[in-house]
Subunit: 135 residues, 4 copies
Amino acid sequence: MWFVVDPHSSVPIYAQIKEKIKAMILNSKLKPGDSLPSIRTLAKDIGVNVNTVARAYRELELEGIIRAERGERYAVVGFEDKIYFETKERLIKELKSVLKRCQDLGISKEEVLRLLEEVYMHQNEGGDEYDNSKE
Amino acid sequence: MWFVVDPHSSVPIYAQIKEKIKAMILNSKLKPGDSLPSIRTLAKDIGVNVNTVARAYRELELEGIIRAERGERYAVVGFEDKIYFETKERLIKELKSVLKRCQDLGISKEEVLRLLEEVYMHQNEGGDEYDNSKE
Amino acid sequence: MWFVVDPHSSVPIYAQIKEKIKAMILNSKLKPGDSLPSIRTLAKDIGVNVNTVARAYRELELEGIIRAERGERYAVVGFEDKIYFETKERLIKELKSVLKRCQDLGISKEEVLRLLEEVYMHQNEGGDEYDNSKE
Amino acid sequence: MWFVVDPHSSVPIYAQIKEKIKAMILNSKLKPGDSLPSIRTLAKDIGVNVNTVARAYRELELEGIIRAERGERYAVVGFEDKIYFETKERLIKELKSVLKRCQDLGISKEEVLRLLEEVYMHQNEGGDEYDNSKE
DNA sequence: GTGGTCTAGACCACA
DNA sequence: GTGGTCTAGACCACA
């Protein structure tokens, strides 16, 4: 597949995988009915353990976003609005919290704005990296 | 003391405490030579475990920002530029990463901008809350 | 053929097929000497994978209940008492286990009784559905 | 703790643990606010791996039935009616399905009734065994 | 001490 | 081939 995961991030790998897949559904890079790479394939692809991918898929299934039949691949179901807004709300809280910490530490609004432009300039052409700002 | 900590945040409490104290030094709410509340006092004050405050103080001491004195006293040393920039750089990376995730999840630049204004409007009058967007 | 299988049940499909065929022998819907549908036919009929039917037939053959004949034909041999009692005992254990879990979860005896009546009222007229309580 | 798990059951161990804890809440053997044994303690107690208990607890937490704070024990929150009914409904479906299979296999209503009496006679005095009908 | 994440690897059920 | 479960054990963060 098609994305990168950051093992040093404080965001757990399984959570990064979940978020990436959700993002790809929003992007329409993954559409309802599409099948996902098998657990083992994805695990090898992004260089993590099978169990880690399995956990991500299992939780996405519990959230009703993907679904597996017996012995078959996982397929995208879709992204209920409710789940979507929950995910978004959680991320917005995180953003707000980080912004407050920036203000506290004396990072100026202009500096943040510059970063914002920088990130959003890349029209998600690649969009595949998770957090390429880390080593 | 003078600040609040969010036990549900994914940022560890000890790290929140460290950052808050650094911010207060930047703010000049704490100046070199000022003494800090004792570990036990602060712990009781903000409602966290003593070990948590102890860890924050220990690490701040290692960074040369505060100094242990006789009898459980800690005093502010100051905030060397080098340390300050490191701290700031780390936070900026975190911000960039969150911004990328926002873009991935389809949160518009305008929406982020709105949040940015909202946060920075409060001229840090209080500045005491860590993440008051949570219940 | 003549029965339905529930792909969402926790009972494996091949086991459902086996049990169904055994039941039909008991019912005398299938008699010794009768031939069974070919693996492919049955698979297409009930909409499952060929391997799944193959496994069911293979195991039924091992139990001496059916017999492979020339050219993909399978014929009913019969249902030896010994095998019959084993099958029955296994199911009774399963039932006991489920009943205990019902008790644990606070489902009353009356409620179970009501279900029992409901299920047994249908004199197996159809008998074709495996678990028609699912959507 | 206080219960037994059946490693040979087709019900996964983590699911058995979840169901047992739910049952104990219904029983009022566990009340809101009570703390649960630590993951490691329970794991040793019932002889399974730490990860298995961790998964059970994690899922119960996702369902809102128990909850852990940082570095603290898990505590019982309670059992929302919605979750309770879902759990019960799922079990009732399972029971219905097993009853149908019993009928199919020619187990008489009287026989089932006898089992029902037998199981429910034990007024859950012990109630601690998961499925002691298995070896 | 507590829980959380992750790995490597086994073994099973299913198609 | 596919996914599911489980284990043993490591390592980390937190109190």
